[in-house]
Subunit: 358 residues, 2 copies
């Protein structure tokens, strides 16, 4: 038996429901493949705020760091929306990413044939979309200093942030992106705003430098405003996209909505070494929390990414992915992806159906 320690961070809203379902799936896939997991469940986000007064308790970060991989549900909710910055659930998530040094955020956006009609895009535009956004996650304007509030030279009140990238930060995310593209269709599109921003000019320069190490990958560059358009016009043109933290936040959400089923989409956040952080890209959905309505498939697929990217357990990962497809093929759907002629199920029942196929 191989053993791994997994930190579970259920978080807020629908987080606990989807984590509990995903844990069962993870367990079964692992035991079939001869893997054993030890779990530690610790609070983060609003749940941590309510329990301990801070959105990322030291014990939570320590537990995460000492484990082999971290699976997160979701964080945030209306309740904490008015909190000051250091007491926001989101700040807990940012500190977790920073603390785990997971600089590379992989966000696949795939339109499954079973769910193509869930997209608001016309069938012929949505069909076959299969792209991966590689987002830089621990740098740029999210973490850049100086930042804050103050007054300018005319004595006027201001709010400010710094978009800044150092060469090593771009180089390492570039390598992850080129490696990712190489394992996919070999096409990488780097998105920036190099016609206006120095940070983007520098980004482009470093991407081009690292490209020399990957002559087999076809590299292109696109301005972020154009990328936002092209994702709507013809998302199939993209294979792998690499971009900075804030552009990646915007474009990966846009890309995910293009698939029409954000309740299906997982993500992986990886560092040079140490545990990766795996989470569905959907939010905490406070309006349906605790009602057994959430779609657990994004978290289940995040567990598959955890197995594949976090632990190198490819077989167990494939087993879960196949089980999800199988369950969809049998017609089971949660409310967010339901359409006439399919079988509407809740979060738990969806989990049980997936278990049958693992």
């Amino acid at each position: 038996y191989k053993r791994h320690t997994i930190t579970l961070l259920p978080g807020d809203g629908i987080g606990p429901e989807v984590i509990s379902v995903a844990r069962n799936v993870l367990n079964l896939a692992a035991s079939v493949e001869g893997i054993e997991f030890k779990y530690q469940e610790v609070p983060v986000g609003g749940a941590a705020l309510d329990l301990t007064g801070v959105p990322l308790p030291e014990e939570t970060l320590l537990a995460a760091k000492q484990s082999d991989a971290v699976l997160l549900g979701a964080i945030g909710g209306y309740k904490w929306d008015k909190n000051e910055k250091h007491l926001k659930p989101e700040t807990g998530l940012l500190k977790l990413r920073e603390g785990l040094k997971v600089f590379a955020n992989l966000r696949p956006a795939t339109v499954l044939p079973q769910l193509v009609d869930a997209s608001t895009l016309k069938r012929e535009v949505a069909e076959g979309v299969d792209l991966m956004v590689v987002r830089e996650l621990t740098g740029g304007i999210y973490f850049g200093k100086p930042r804050g509030f103050g007054t300018n030279e005319n004595g006027e009140e201001i709010g400010f942030n710094t978009e800044v990238y150092a060469a090593y930060e771009i180089d390492r995310i570039a390598r992850v992106a080129f490696e990712t593209a190489r394992k996919r269709k070999g096409k990488l599109c780097s998105v920036d705003k190099a016609n206006v921003l120095e940070a983007s000019m520098f980004w482009r320069k470093r991407i081009m430098a690292i490209a020399l190490e990957y002559p087999d990958v076809e590299l292109s560059h696109m301005y972020v405003d154009n990328a936002a358009m092209q994702l709507v016009r013809d998302p199939k043109q993209f294979d792998t996209i690499v971009t900075n933290n804030i552009f990646g936040d915007i474009l990966s959400d846009e890309a995910s909505m293009i698939t029409g089923s954000i309740g299906m989409l997982p993500s992986a956040s990886l560092g040079e070494s140490g545990p990766g952080l795996f989470e569905p890209i959907h939010g905490s959905a406070p309006d349906i929390a605790g009602q057994d309505k959430a779609n657990p498939l994004a978290t289940i697929l995040s567990a598959a990414m955890l197995l594949k990217y976090g632990l190198g357990e490819e077989n167990a990962a494939k087993r879960i992915e196949a089980a999800v497809l199988d369950t969809l093929n049998k017609g089971f759907r949660t409310g967010d992806i339901y359409s006439a002629g399919t079988k509407l199920v809740g979060c738990k029942e969806m989990g049980e159906e997936v278990l049958k196929s693992v």
Copy 2:
């Protein structure tokens, strides 16, 4: 006869073609309404670079400042793509916006019933979309200092920019946005990233302060990543959107692509006083430049915005808008909006057809 001076900036690529057509339409609409125009045509962007070595010659800015309104075609092209920052066509455009102090950029995105099938979105999602993005245009990360290249405290090379907003910059764009929403359906959505960025927290605080002056407008707030999703999921939920320079750049392009006909979309950039800048939102399209294939309607509609917002000539503006609809109703289409059963025409012929209806 009322007299106005108009500066024409044909610029690059398809710019000269669409400006020449729009000028004819402007002339006819004006003369029917008893208005007389004096034109001055001056170079900007790549055209100015080739002629004078800089993307915004002093004479061009002066001419623009001394006129009553400025109509721009498009700027940029492959030829100058590798230029250093101060020699990029785009830098000419940014300096023009800065020089004219046009801080408020109005970008309507409307799906005309005649063109609903041009959208990649399903008919029921695209039909009836009618939104206006009010983008802050002379502040934020586009102009913020410090900016540039350097080394950080570890001696590593960096590229950096500053996102910064002063209270007065937010207040004045907020007022334009509230006034705009008031004349539309009375709904304003302010887009920011206040869960992460101090500049956005400050933005939201000022927007809420100015909202007190507009109790009749329904204000909401949305994070930029969610806005990028919601534009794809259900664009009809939006009436007026207000946001900063960079988010506005991204979201207005996304919104325009959602209409499926960016060759149709105009924009207006306005300051406190002084001439406004009017331009189609499409680019210079170097690949079809000089081939009489460009769609001149976005520039013609920009001329209508010039009449309405720039000169207060509402009647002449309405005349042009009606002529454009009339021409579409007759079935005339340029290549970008062509569909089976309509009449394919070039740039000039489209202009002539519009003239017949003015």
